[in-house]
Structure formats: structure tokens, C-alpha cells
Amino acid sequence: MSLDTSSSAIHLNLPPTSSTQIRPPTLITVHPSVVASILTHHSRKSTEADSSNRVIGTLMGSRSENGQEIDIRSSFAVPHKEDENQIAVDMPFQQGMMQLLGKTGAKESIVGWYATHPTLNAYSALIQNYFTGETSPHPSVHLTIDTELDPSGKGLGIKGWVSTQLGLSPKPENCAFLPVPVVIKYADSERAALDLLTAPAPTPSPSLPPLPTLSASLTQLSTLIDQALTYVQSVNSGSQNPDAEVGRYLLEGLGRWSGSDNEDEGGVKAGLQDTLTVSYLSNLVRSQVELAGRLALLQQTPAS
């Protein structure tokens, strides 16, 4: 489920390069709101002639115990200016934002920075050096998003990098960026929200009651059953080559299903009683609350 195009690279778990037990990260998980936030910052940048073609900002999140997995939960943009001769990043801005964001109570810390252009040049190395200073002793992570929608990158190439020192003497503007796989991570309770956003246009309103989602899921299931049925029929009639793996999956699924409809009879009756009781109770409570509200209004009116 990598966000980038699948590559044939194998990511090795390198031993620590120094005597301390800190290993470079091997996996970066990103919350979808971070990507949306980065893209929005990019679309808001000013279009003056002297501004560069990318925006940069800070990534915040948490690390796993041994530093191998980095979870990026939020981000914010940092103003910067870049041209051929120099680069300037607004550091007091970043420190101010970190201080403010630390008050919200979520346990997040700086894990790296992002840029909205896929190039990695000497300036990237300088900024990476600065951020490594901020996140020390852990290495800092760099995320690039290809907003030019370059056809060779096949869409938004979201790539993650860590840096290592290069050359005989460590200089801040020399480093090698090593790629790290990037994966989207979301909680189960956000699943329905993501489904809503990725549904075919027009996006349905998020304030619908739950029954339409249930009916949509039922229609989806019935189309899938139809598909499976046509496949099985075509295999039986010989018009399609059977695939052993598909057959095994279907068998397993059917086996799980047929064993469970013995206790349904009793289950329906008991469940029905309970749900009807609860439904009546909820209506009763709601009427009670409404009456209580109206009675509170009455107490103050003078007796007529």
C-alpha cells in the first residue's frame, strides 16, 4: 500500500552507524490530513516572480520505540525564500509555532520537514542539516511531493528520505538522501469519512442517517455475489480457465457462511424483543426531555 510507484528496491534494515542504539527509520506512515494540508499550502503560495517553485514546512508526529517507524500526524508551513544564491528559512516562526502547538496537548514532536518539489539539491541538504539539529539525536525525515504531476512520477509521487553524511569531512551541504517507503495510515473510525471523500462525484453530504450506507453496502455485496456467480458458471461451462487460488478462497468463504445459520432462528426472536424495547424507550426519553425543556420555560411566566 505504498503511496509511491512500486519499486523493486529492497529496504534493508541497516545496523546503527554509531555506537548509540539509534537506527535510521525504515517506514513512514502518514495521516491523509497531512497530505491534504501540504497540498493546500502549496496552492496558497504567492505567485510573485522571485519566489521559488516550492513551499517547505515542518512535519510533526511520533516515533516508535526503536525509531524505526515514524508516524506523521500533522504539519504546518514555514515561510522561506530561495533563489540561486541563498536560502532563508524563518526559524523564529517555526519555534513560535512549535511552542503554540505544544499547548494543544497532543503528544507530537518534530520529526522532519516537507517540500513540494521532487528535486533534492544543496539547499535541501542545508535545511535537512538544520532539522536534524532540531530532532537530534534522532535522524530527521524529509518528505517530497511532486506537485507538478510529472508523468514519469506517475501522479503525486510522495517520497520519504533520510539523510546520511557523505564525504571525508562532514559538511552541512553534503549529504546523501536515502529513500524510505511511505504508507498512508488512518484509524478505523475515520474509514467512513475517507469513503465519503473518495466516493464518485458528487460527494454525498456527511450528515446522512446511517441507513443509506447500510443499503449501499448491501447492493455492493449483491453485485459481488453476482460477479462470483458468473465466474463460477463460466468456469463450469468451460469458457474460462479456472484459477486454483480463487477457487480456494470461494470455498473458504462459503464454508464459513453455511455453518452459522443454525442459531439464527432463536437469535431473531430475542433480538427483536430487545430492539423494539430500546426503540420505544428512546422515543420515551426524547419526549420527556422535550417536556422538561418546555416546563422550565413555564416556571417564570407570571400566573395569569
Binding site: 491534504a36 504546518f76 430492539t275 428512546s282 426524547r286 425543556g293
Partner: protein
């Protein structure tokens, strides 16, 4: 069957509607130079149009979701209602509510929400030098829209507003000029665990707007404006929009990038299609709903006890004060007879008495009970449907 509660709510006499005064056209032509041509008819300078619907950016949508899954510390003590006893700890109140401010602009009757940020627990004002003011100065430097238009709330209490969120909403109204355009977006996190999405947009009802302006929620303002838990907020239609880059990103989540042979073991796309489970879960989920409703009733009765105690306290002090006034009068009458100088009369006003309690918490808790009961009914309905499958 129509619910009795809805019938009761509909029978409440409507509050007096304010008539809109006709707008001057001269001032709008003076200001039209400041707005680009295409926005002229659309930017609402004199607040002539009420907000009719809300359009959320998908960025804000995702940020609200992310905030709701953050693990947050419990709120600091200064946010609890100032009363005799703290409310008893319940399972319901152990989930911290997530609050934040919405930024955007309203154009042509549609409130477009472009960005948002989270607020730390314990913030109740948006004035100068507050957390939100300082954060906004930073955000302004990166060209974020900087006018707060509303508040978002992600809560486990059944999809109703809490007292803190209503106070924040009135603060936003004050900041944005008090024209009744602040929007409240409520995300019901308790339903999200069951796989349903519930995000609704509201605005303060008309009577509630008056009370919010005064900042007082005691009995007199309630009865004058006819505020109950169902008239506190009026709902607005809500939809979600995505700008181009973000919709490109979203489509990469569901479409596979290249023509690989789909394998049955690992999904080929980051977001495989989901199926809601058809097993009847009501045996477990109904008990949690019942538990939540009971908890909210506990909180409600606790708050009612507090208010009753405070009312009795006020009555007692009033009686005592009248007694002292009477004594003073008699004293003065006696001294008049004796020809001595009189004591000054005590004013009938009670200084330093107990203040009238604010009823906002009661209203919000009442709404909470109703919201949870509604959720219970919805869950029961779903269970009925599943039973017949």
C-alpha cells in the same frame, strides 16, 4: 410513526423574527473598489444574506477526523461549571471533547470553510492575546485565511453541542461582528466507532443569538426567547468540496497505479473497498448506548440539583435581605420618634449576593440526553433491519 418529541418541538411558538432592514446601496459602491470584479455581487458586505448552507473543504474534514483520534489529556479544571460539586465521573465524560476554530469566508449565502486549527482544552475566548489570536498571526504569514467563522466539535456525547462549544461560538460571533453567521460543526465520534459518519452543521437559533449577545443564560432570557434544547441550534445543509490537487491525491488512494496482476493476499490500492459487517451487533452496541444515555441522565440530574441548590440559596439571601431592610425601617421610625438622626436606608438591591445560575449547561445536557436517545433509536432501527436479513 411521528415521534412525540418532534410534535412537541414543533408546537413551540416561534420567537419574534427580526425584520431585515433594506440595505443602502451607496456604501456598497464605495467599497466595491476594494473587491475584485468577480466577487462583487457575492461578498456580503452588509450581511444582508443569512448563511444558508455550509461547504467544508476536504482538508478541514480530514483535520477534524485526525483531531478526533488524537489521545488528549483531560480538560483543566477551569472549564468545569463553577458549582458546589464537580460532576461525578462517568464513562461518558471520560472521553475528552476536541474543539477547534474554523477559518473561511462566506460568499453568496454559502459559508466556505477553508482551514481550521485545534484549540487546547481550557480556552474560552478568542480575544486579543489568546491562543487563537497568536496562532492566527503566525498563520497569516503563510497566506491562510484568517477570519474565524465558526467552531468545530468532536464529541462522544451523542452529537449535541457542549457548553464550552456554545461559549466559543458566541466568542466567534463577537469577533466576526455579531451578525449571526458563526457556524458550529459537530462530529459525532461515538457513531464513528460503529462505522457511521455523522457530521452536521448548525448555527445558533434566533432566540439563542439574543442570549449569546447578552452573555447571560438565566431563566429570564430563556423564557423571553423561548430557548429549549431543540431550539438552541438550527441546522444547516452541509457538503464537502475538494480542490483539484487534493482530489487527485484522493483518487490515487482508490485507483491502482499500474496494471499489476492483482494478488489475493495483499490489496493493490492503499484504500481497499470496505464492507459494513452484516452481523447483528446490537447485543453489544445497544448496551453501550444505554449506558451512555444513563450517564448523561446522571450528569443532567446532578446539574439540576446544583441549580436547585443555587436557587434556594438566592431565595434565602433575598429573604434575609428583606428582613434587614424591614429592621432598618423600624429602627429609623423609632429614631424619628425620639428625634435622633436616622440611619441610611439600605437599598433594595442585593449586593454580593449569589448570582443567578447560568442555565446553559442544563440546556446542553438536555440536548445530550436527547441526542443519545436518538442514537439509541437509530441503532435499534438498524438492528431491526439486520434481523430481517
Amino acid at each position: 410513526m411521528t415521534s412525540m418529541a418532534a410534535a412537541l418541538a414543533a408546537s413551540l411558538p416561534a420567537a419574534i423574527t427580526r425584520t431585515a432592514t433594506p440595505q443602502q446601496s451607496t456604501s456598497s459602491t464605495q467599497q466595491s473598489k476594494q473587491f475584485p470584479q468577480r466577487l462583487e455581487g457575492v461578498v456580503d458586505v452588509e450581511a444582508a444574506r443569512e448563511v444558508e448552507s455550509v461547504s467544508l473543504n476536504s482538508l478541514v474534514f480530514l483535520k477534524i477526523m485526525k483531531h478526533s483520534t488524537d489521545i488528549l489529556p483531560p480538560p483543566p479544571a477551569n472549564t468545569l461549571q463553577q458549582d458546589r460539586n464537580a460532576p461525578p465521573p462517568t464513562a461518558l465524560s471520560s472521553h475528552t471533547d476536541c474543539l477547534g476554530v474554523l477559518l473561511g469566508l462566506d460568499l453568496d449565502g454559502v459559508m466556505e470553510v477553508e482551514d481550521s486549527f485545534a484549540l487546547p482544552g481550557g480556552e474560552t475566548s478568542l480575544g486579543a492575546n489568546s491562543y487563537s489570536d497568536r496562532l492566527l498571526t503566525h498563520l497569516r504569514e503563510v497566506q491562510t485565511p484568517d477570519s474565524p467563522v465558526g467552531v468545530y466539535l468532536s464529541t462522544h456525547n451523542g452529537g449535541f453541542a457542549t457548553r464550552v462549544s456554545i461559549e466559543l461560538l458566541s466568542a466567534v460571533e463577537k469577533v466576526s461582528g455579531g451578525r449571526g453567521k458563526a457556524v458550529l460543526i459537530v462530529h459525532d465520534a461515538s457513531k464513528a466507532n460503529g462505522g457511521d459518519l455523522s457530521v452536521k452543521a448548525y448555527r445558533l437559533g434566533e432566540g439563542a443569538r439574543e442570549a449569546a449577545k447578552l452573555g447571560k443564560w438565566d431563566e429570564k432570557t430563556l423564557t423571553e426567547n423561548g430557548i429549549t434544547s431543540s431550539t438552541l441550534l438550527s441546522s444547516l445543509p452541509l457538503n464537502v468540496t475538494s480542490p483539484a490537487l487534493i482530489s487527485a491525491f484522493l483518487s490515487t488512494l482508490t485507483a491502482s497505479a499500474e496494471q499489476v496482476q492483482p494478488s489475493l493476499s495483499s490489496p493493490s490500492v492503499p484504500l481497499p473497498p470496505t464492507f459494513s459487517p452484516l452481523v447483528n451487533p446490537t447485543s453489544t452496541s445497544l448496551t453501550s448506548y444505554l449506558q451512555n444515555t444513563l450517564d448523561s441522565l446522571t450528569l443532567h440530574s446532578h446539574e439540576a440539583n446544583n441549580i436547585a441548590f443555587l436557587t434556594r440559596q438566592i431565595a434565602r439571601e433575598k429573604v434575609k435581605h428583606e428582613q434587614t431592610i424591614k429592621d432598618r425601617e423600624e429602627e429609623n421610625a423609632r429614631r424619628r420618634k425620639q428625634g435622633l438622626s436616622e440611619f441610611p436606608t439600605i437599598s433594595a438591591e442585593l449586593k454580593n449576593g449569589t448570582k443567578e445560575p447560568s442555565r446553559l449547561e442544563m440546556i446542553c445536557l438536555g440536548g445530550t440526553v436527547e441526542g443519545l436517545a436518538k442514537g439509541m433509536g437509530a441503532e435499534a432501527g438498524k438492528g431491526l433491519v439486520r434481523n430481517y436479513l
